[in-house]
């Protein structure tokens, strides 16, 4: 069976959930071989093995943290040469897409980004994408070289499938370009204790209607009652009420959770582009004409400061 390379996104050895989703998808098209780089790379092996990695290729070097993107591309290129995989899968983070693009160029391959599903096809893996603010679903494949595909978080349910997960050290020689862009400093985002926005099963977002940074406490309280991540519309971010890292939309993060709760968000096309593939959508908005109501499974026309706290209390009560 053909091998499929899976690039491992991890923090000091802790594997992020989208990588486990990639391993699940990889098994549809071949045998997953994981590539884990940087500090704690070898510590990922047990988790990766549990989720289907037949092999885990690791390499630890300071370059992965000290320079942007290119050292990781060098390592993946080395892994491709060692394995000759049928495809390379990377999760669709901003960095993941950059890694995938540069790797594809070096391999003389095509690249597909932001797949929401992956199937085995006669002429190679077929990637399903959602485009034009989710108005269209396309099915595409790479027609030249080794397919390099990035997959959006929440595109597959994680299924454990124990495999050997034999660790092998990768012998990487860095390219001349590897040290081109220095990471002078890195400040990890302060943990809010909430799930990561792009990975969360439930997202609660606030928009213009929240009307002030301090009022986001109402949104956060609902999110915490549901175990959800907090998002914000561009209007709320531009007003300085919530950080840009939480922006959902075309120029922010694209999310595809099981449940999306939009509070005080009108639903401009740019916002819809970032959340329209959510499985279930609910909204609270004073304006009955707000375009967000065209998308909802359930909508409440009303003041979010009445509706959201009541909802939070009711959720807490039901959860006991």
């Amino acid at each position: 069976m053909a091998e499929v390379l899976v690039y491992v996104d991890h923090a000091g050895g802790a594997v992020r959930k989208p990588t486990l989703e990639l391993l699940t998808l990889a098994r549809r098209i071949g045998e997953p071989v994981a590539v884990a780089l940087g500090d704690g790379a070898a510590d990922t092996a047990a988790t990766l093995a549990e989720h289907g990695a037949v092999k885990v290729l690791t390499h630890e070097a300071a370059e992965y943290a000290d320079y942007l993107v290119v050292p990781k591309v060098d390592a993946l290129q080395t892994a491709v040469a060692a394995v000759s995989p049928a495809a390379v899968l990377v999760s669709s983070s901003a960095e993941g897409k950059e890694i995938a693009a540069r790797l594809a160029l070096r391999l003389g391959s095509g690249v597909i980004t932001d797949a929401i599903d992956l199937e085995a096809g006669e002429a190679g893996p077929v990637a399903v994408q959602s485009v034009f603010a989710a108005a269209f679903t396309t099915r595409s494949r790479v027609s030249k070289g080794i397919p390099v595909i990035t997959v959006k978080p929440n595109s597959a349910a994680v299924e454990p499938a124990p495999a050997a997960g034999a660790v092998e050290a990768l012998d990487v020689t860095f390219s001349e370009q590897a040290k081109g862009t220095k990471v002078v400093s890195r400040t990890p985002r302060e943990s809010t204790g909430r799930p990561e926005l792009t990975e969360a099963a439930i997202v609660v977002s606030g928009g213009r209607g929240v009307n002030g940074a301090e009022n986001f406490a109402v949104i956060e309280a609902l999110a915490d009652s549901l175990g959800a991540a907090v998002g914000a519309s561009r209007a709320a971010v531009d007003a300085g009420w919530y950080p840009h890292t939480s922006q959902v939309g075309q120029t922010g993060k694209s999310v595809s959770p099981q449940l999306y709760v939009a509070a005080g968000i009108s639903g401009a096309i740019q916002h819809r582009a970032g959340m329209q593939t959510s499985k279930t959508i609910v909204a609270v908005n004073k304006d009955a004409e707000a375009p967000i109501f065209d998308l909802v499974d359930y909508g409440v026309v009303g003041d979010l400061f009445d509706v959201v706290p009541q909802l939070t209390e009711e959720v807490k009560a039901r959860k006991g």
Partner: protein
Amino acid sequence: MSLRIVVPVKYVPDATGDRHFADDLTVDRDDVDGLLSELDEYAVEQALQISENSDDDVEITVLTVGPEDAKDALRKALSMGADQAIHVEDDDLHGTDAIGTSLVLARAIEKAGYDLVLSGMASTDGVMGVVPALLAERLGVPQVTLLSEVALEDGTVRGRRDGDAATEQLEASLPAVVSVTDQSGEARYPSFKGIMAAKKKPVTSWDLSDLDLEAEEVGLEGAYTVVESATERPARTAGTIVKDEGEGGRQLAAFLASQKFV
């Protein structure tokens, strides 16, 4: 000293229009108005600010690959204050994918001459966000991408990148490829004077032969990916909408419970 900045921009179908696919599964550009991709306006703005804050002589060239109408995008950037424009236009470019686009842009950038390539983070139509990284790879220069702040001093570009897990301060020597996000600073509106001045600014047109490219390297034929099908998503069935008369929160909770979210 002089500094040459090339800003690659894209003419995109208006996202508020009815975007769809043509029979050959490329984006149908005939039925929707186009405009300069909003995310590229931020790049033009940062190029102008670098120019305004520099003691050097700075020349800003905007560059686009696209059909005749794409001149509108160049004109907008020129009216904001860019100095000159290059339009790469060729019938054989129809259907070019991201890899092919990066090839055409890289050739044009090399031909134009550059110290800094400054682009938007992504187009607002394809939204892949891969072209800046592809350009850096092709040009063999550092990528300093997704910056929310950018500064240039003594041949070094520095900037802040807000990633998913961390905020990073980046640094690279010129020449380099930089991309900026919508957080880098509001883009200016063209003034009347700027619009009038833009009419007199030079727009150079190049075709594939000017860039020593063959038709089969680009377009649908040269594409590295194939779209096999594009289906319009069925309109969502109308959801339940209630007016809050004091019970809205509890009604919503009941719905969430019925869907097993609570």
